[in-house]
Amino acid sequence: MKIIFAIAKNTFREAVRDKILYAILGFAALFILSSLFVGQLSRGDIVPVKSFGLAGIYIFGLVASIFLGSSIIYKEIERRTLYFVLAKPVSRANVILGKFFGLLAAVALTTIFMAIIYEGVIFYQRGGFDYGAILAVLFQIMEESLFIALLIFLSSIIPPLTSTICAVIILFVGHLTPSALAEAKLVGGISHKFISLLYYVLPNLEKFDIRNFVVHNSPIPGSVGIIAFCYALLYTILLLYCAILLFNRREL
C-alpha cells in the first residue's frame, strides 16, 4: 500500500507540474468565464450559463485526462524510467495502481478547480451557488475514474497516439450506445443482438451525465448515484485488472 501511495504521489506531482495541464486549465477558465457573455446574450436566462459552464468542466476534464493519461505508462517505458522502478521491490501491479490513483487525483483536482470557477460565475450571475453542480461534478469524477482506467489499460499495450484515438472513439461510443440500442430494437435480428452486446460490454457513460437535470433543477432519481458509483467502481477494477495482467505479460 505504501508503495502504491508513493507512486501515486509521484505521479500526481508529475501531472500537476506538467505545463500542458496549465494550458488546459487556462482554456477551461476562459471557456467557463465566457458563460458570462452567454448570460448577457441570453438576457439573464441562467439555463445557457449553467449548461455552457458544466459542458466546459466536462470537456476540459476529459481533455486533461486524455493528455495526461494516454502516455502515462508508455512514456515510462520509452524513457526507461520504469526499469529503475521495477528494479526495486515494486510489482507491476503497484505501478499500474499508483499511476491510476495519482492521475485520478490530479484530474479530480483540475475538475474541482474548474467547478470553483463555475460556482464563481453562477454566484456573480444570480447571487447564489449552484449546489446541483457539485453532484454533477461528482458524477463526472466517477466517469473520469473509469476513463483514466481505460487510458491506463490502453497505454500499457499501445502507443500514445493510438491509445488517444481509441479512447476518444470509446468515449463517443460510450455516449451513443443507448440511442443505438433504441434504434437497433426497431430493426431487430442480428443487429439488435450485436448492438446489445456492445451496449453491455463497452463502457456506458450516459449514466454519469446528470448535467441536464442540474441545468433545469430537476430532481435526480436517488438510485442513479448508487448505480453509477457501482458501475464506475466495477468497470475501473476490471480495466485495471486487465491492465495489470497485460502489463505482467509484457516483456520489458
Binding site: S51, A55, L171, R211
Partner: protein
C-alpha cells in the same frame, strides 16, 4: 538577430494579417447556405450527452438570429424560411425540451410575422412549451394573448392566463392582469361559467379548488357590481370608493378576494384592480 528587427518583423507580420483579414471582409464573400438540419437522434448520439449546452448554443448563436431575420423577409420568402426555422427549433426542442427561451421567443414573435401560418405555429409551439419547458410565465401569457387577440378565443385565453398567473416568478403586474382576465363585464359571465363548469366536472382536486376560488372571485365582482348599481340608483352617481357602499349600508362589509386583490371604482362605475 537584433531585438528591434524582431519587434518590427512581428508588427509588420501582424499588420499584414489584420490587413488580409480586412481585405477578405471587404470582398463580402458569402459561402452558400446549406439548408440542412441533422436529425435530433443523430445529433444526440454524437454530442457526448451535452444536449442542454448544444441546445443553448444552437438557439443563441443560430436559430434566434434566424427568427429575427425571418421577421423581416417578404411574405413569399417567409413560407420557405419558416420550414427551416421550424426544423431547427424542433432540433433544439428535442435536444433540450425544458429550455424555455426558444418557446418564449417564438410565441412572442410569430403572431406578428407576415407568415400566413404564424398564429397557428405560435399556438402549437406555445402549447408544446407549456407542456414540456421549465415553468416560464411568458409562454402561457403570450399564448393567451394570441388566443385573445388573434383567435378571439376567450376560453383558451382564460385557460392560459390562469396558467401564467399561477406560474412562480411571474411579475406582479402580469400576475394581476392574468388572474383578472375576464374581470371586464363583457367576458366576465362567460369566464365565470367556464370556471363553474370546470368546478363541476373536473376529477382533479387541485383544479377543482382552483376553479372554486375563481368562482368566488367572480361572484364577489358580481356582488360588488350589483351594489354599485344600487348605489347609483339611490344617489344618482357612482360611489368614489368601495367603502362608500358600506357607509351607506348597501353592503355590510367589503368581501375579501381569495386572490388577495383589492378593487377600486372607476369614474364610469367599473370595478378595477387596485395597483
Amino acid at each position: 538577430m537584433k531585438p528591434i528587427f524582431t519587434g518590427v518583423a512581428i508588427v509588420v507580420l501582424l499588420g499584414g494579417i489584420v490587413g488580409t483579414q480586412g481585405l477578405y471582409d471587404s470582398k463580402k464573400i458569402k459561402s452558400p447556405e446549406i439548408d440542412f438540419t441533422p436529425s435530433p437522434k443523430l445529433v444526440k448520439s454524437f454530442d457526448l450527452g451535452l444536449h442542454s449546452a448544444l441546445a443553448s448554443y444552437l438557439w443563441l448563436f443560430k436559430t434566434r438570429t434566424e427568427l429575427i431575420k425571418f421577421l423581416f423577409l417578404s411574405k413569399e420568402m417567409q413560407e420557405t424560411a419558416y420550414a427551416r426555422y421550424s426544423r431547427n427549433l424542433n432540433l433544439i426542442n428535442e435536444l433540450d425540451p425544458k429550455y424555455s427561451a426558444p418557446y418564449v421567443f417564438s410565441v412572442i414573435a410569430l403572431p406578428g410575422s407576415k407568415y400566413a401560418g404564424g398564429v397557428q405555429a405560435s399556438v402549437e409551439i406555445g402549447m408544446r412549451g407549456v407542456a414540456d419547458a421549465d415553468p416560464d410565465w411568458q409562454i402561457p401569457f403570450y399564448l393567451a394573448v394570441t388566443y385573445h387577440l388573434e383567435l378571439k378565443d376567450n376560453i383558451n385565453a382564460a385557460k392560459y392566463f390562469d396558467i401564467a398567473g399561477h406560474t412562480p416568478s411571474i411579475p406582479e403586474p402580469a400576475r394581476r392582469f392574468s388572474i383578472n382576465y375576464g374581470i371586464f363585464k363583457t367576458v366576465r359571465e362567460q369566464t365565470k361559467q367556464i370556471w363553474q363548469a370546470i368546478y363541476e366536472t373536473t376529477d382533479d382536486e387541485t383544479m377543482r379548488e382552483r376553479a372554486q376560488v375563481y368562482v368566488v372571485h367572480f361572484t364577489i365582482l358580481d356582488y360588488l357590481d350589483a351594489a354599485i348599481k344600487k348605489y347609483k340608483n339611490m344617489h344618482g352617481r357612482y360611489p368614489k370608493k368601495l367603502e362608500d357602499l358600506v357607509s351607506k349600508k348597501i353592503i355590510p362589509e367589503i368581501p375579501r378576494d381569495p386572490f388577495g386583490f383589492e378593487f377600486t371604482i372607476g369614474t364610469d362605475g367599473d370595478l378595477r384592480v387596485k395597483n
